[in-house]
């Protein structure tokens, strides 16, 4: 019996949040139960992801495939829990639990009544399920469907906020994201028409044989794919929806959007770029230069825009634009170190940005102040919240022994290996910018006069969330080996190095 359960792990990790999400709307009267169910789901997801990781380490990184319905690969959908997938599953699980804890008893103010809250939770779990699906998917059209689930639930999360501007942000997000998924679907269509396969491995094999007869098809497919996922993952010139959406969403929504949803799209993009086009075609069509250029532009522009924001959540949202730039930059290096760094940075940014958003949300709801300049003395009044914020800021800036540093270190290694010194300079400049837009918040919080108001740390569950997240940031800063090994193996898989 034991073995059968472990063989089904890759599918359980996807369907568990979905199944629980289905029944949540009917439980709207019993909100307590809903909250506890969500937390339980996250705990179980974490256990399952960890079990998958252990399994993967036991077999030295050889992937765990799972054929849906038992149909073999080119006919049915085969999902694969490979290094990349398990890495992202772990990230989802580690970030998801604190976010679920944070929401406990804390949505009334931002979301509203019971039925809305229950549906908010359902959307949250559906998003989690879709992201888990993205982690293990190995099928082009499956990617599209998952992306749609994620997009719709993410828009739903944004629109759940009571603020009228949330609806506008959600609408803009929805329109642009749908445009993006139209492009993605078009691209999948081109690939399907030329290769006749939807399974990534088979499509790649076929594409390697036919691409010379139809270079423009590859061109258009790649540019559609990049633009489509670029819109969804907020690659720099296409990020216009992100600041509104991520700053207007309810706090847990912002955290999960910035921390995980964007990463899910990036993982899909990575899979398609490397598993379908492959590094040969990427180099031939200079996609890696496009990625690098987009990354550099995103880091610089995102940081500068973030510097100019006074609203805390907007500043964090622009910071996400900049940090996505790092990840994209790493995708463009096309070498193992750069990719591993990029993947580790993705994990670390997921942790850090969700911490930042959650603590920012807690601060905003405790103080009622949304502007950076108004937050004088918060550090003294809300030590735990601000402590977590500080840890996350240091991590984002890339101070050694915080998780961001490890990612940056490997990104730098990758950039030097690919001979891209401009990228290295931008990575480092990005850290300085990051300090420039985050440290003033800390300075205001700790070194300004404390106002007499009665601001307090939030409740137990929220504190637990902060402690968990900051512990994770420090843990992966000090002992990155498990994640880093996964990332390195995933990078090797993507580059077909054996």
């Amino acid at each position: 019996m034991m073995t059968s359960w472990t063989t089904h792990l890759p599918v359980f990790v996807v369907i568990l949040p979905l199944f629980v999400g289905f029944i949540l709307p009917t439980l709207a009267r019993r909100l307590r139960l809903v909250e506890n169910l969500v937390i339980a789901v996250e705990v179980i997801s974490f256990v399952m992801a960890a079990a998958l990781a252990v399994l993967l380490f036991k077999q030295n990184g050889s992937p765990i495939p799972y054929a849906m319905g038992g149909w073999p690969a080119p006919w049915g959908i085969r999902i694969i829990a490979d290094n990349l997938g398990v890495l992202f599953l772990l990230v989802i699980a580690i970030v998801g639990l604190p976010i679920a804890l944070y929401t406990k008893g804390n949505l009334r103010e931002e979301v509203g009544g019971r039925s809305r809250t229950a549906r908010f939770y359902a959307l949250y779990l559906l998003l989690m399920g879709a992201l888990a699906g993205m982690a293990v998917t190995n099928d082009l059209f499956n990617v599209f469907v998952l992306v749609e689930v994620a997009t719709l639930s993410a828009c739903g999360l944004v629109s759940a906020h009571r603020n009228p501007r949330a609806a506008e942000a959600a609408f803009n997000y929805l329109i642009l994201a749908t445009l993006g998924s139209g492009l993605v679907m078009g691209s999948i269509g081109f690939l399907y028409i030329t290769t006749g396969h939807l399974n990534m491995e088979f499509a790649a094999r076929e594409l390697a044989q036919v691409w010379q007869h139809s270079p423009h098809v590859v061109w258009m497919a790649a540019s559609f794919m990049l633009t489509g996922f670029g819109v969804k993952a907020a690659m720099f010139p296409l990020h216009v929806w992100l600041p509104d959406a991520h700053s207007m969403a309810p706090t847990p929504g912002s955290a999960v959007l910035s921390g995980l949803a964007v990463k899910g799209y990036l993982i899909c993009l990575l899979k398609i770029l490397y598993n379908v086009f492959g590094q040969t075609l990427m180099r031939h069509f200079t996609m890696h230069h496009v990625l690098t250029a987009a990354g550099i532009a995103a880091i610089l522009a995102g940081s500068i825009l973030a510097l100019r924001q006074d609203e805390l959540k907007r500043r964090l949202a622009y910071s996400t634009v900049a940090q996505v730039g790092y990840i994209i930059l790493g995708f463009g290096f096309v070498n193992q170190r750069g990719l591993a760094g990029s993947l580790f940075y993705l994990a670390s940014h997921a942790l850090i940005k969700s911490t930042l958003f959650l603590t920012a949300g807690a601060i905003i709801s405790a103080t009622g102040k949304t502007k950076v300049s108004e937050l004088a003395g918060v550090g003294r009044k809300m030590p735990l919240t601000m402590g977590a914020f500080t840890v996350a800021s240091l991590g984002l800036v890339g101070i050694p022994l915080f998780s961001g540093f490890v990612g940056k270190w490997h990104l730098l290694l990758g950039s030097f290996e690919s001979g891209n010194f401009a990228a290295a300079a931008v990575i480092l400049a990005g850290s300085v910018f990051c300090a420039a837009y985050l440290f003033p918040i800390l300075r205001n919080a700790y070194f300004q006069e404390t106002p007499g108001e009665n601001w307090q740390d939030p409740g137990m569950a929220q504190r637990a969330a902060f402690v968990l997240l900051s512990a994770a940031i420090i843990f992966f800063g000090i002992l990155p080996t498990p994640l880093l090994t996964l990332a390195q193996r995933a990078a090797a898989d993507l580059l077909f190095l054996q």
Binding site: L18, R29, M68, R114, A130, S153, G156, S159, V210, S214
Partner: protein, 98 residues
């Protein structure tokens, strides 16, 4: 506003031109030996009845071979229903349970 529209139009026209170049390279429409009609399609066509017991191959693909996709398809619709309610339900309506 106007300049933006012109910019958009130019970009779209350029992309359109690229797309037309691409279309010319696609396998010819309606031919029976397109890459699409490969072993994948052949199995769906030849073995669907035996594999799934239904004569409608589209249904066989939707609900059996690629049932995983279809599960997510229903989830998309479910998500939309949730999201619509979340977006439109008034925030303050305690005790109301739909």
């Amino acid at each position: 506003m106007k300049i933006r529209h012109i910019f958009v139009a130019v970009v779209v026209l350029l992309a359109l031109f690229g797309m037309l170049l691409m279309v010319a390279e696609l396998p010819p429409y309606g031919s029976a030996d397109n890459p699409g009609q490969n072993m994948v399609a052949q199995r769906y066509i030849n073995d669907a009845l035996e594999d799934t017991g239904v004569p409608n191959m589209v249904t066989a693909v939707v609900l059996d071979y690629r049932a995983y996709d279809t599960m997510f398809e229903t989830i998309v619709l479910f998500t939309a229903a949730l999201a619509v309610v979340v977006a439109l339900k008034p925030a303050e309506e305690e005790g109301d349970d739909a």
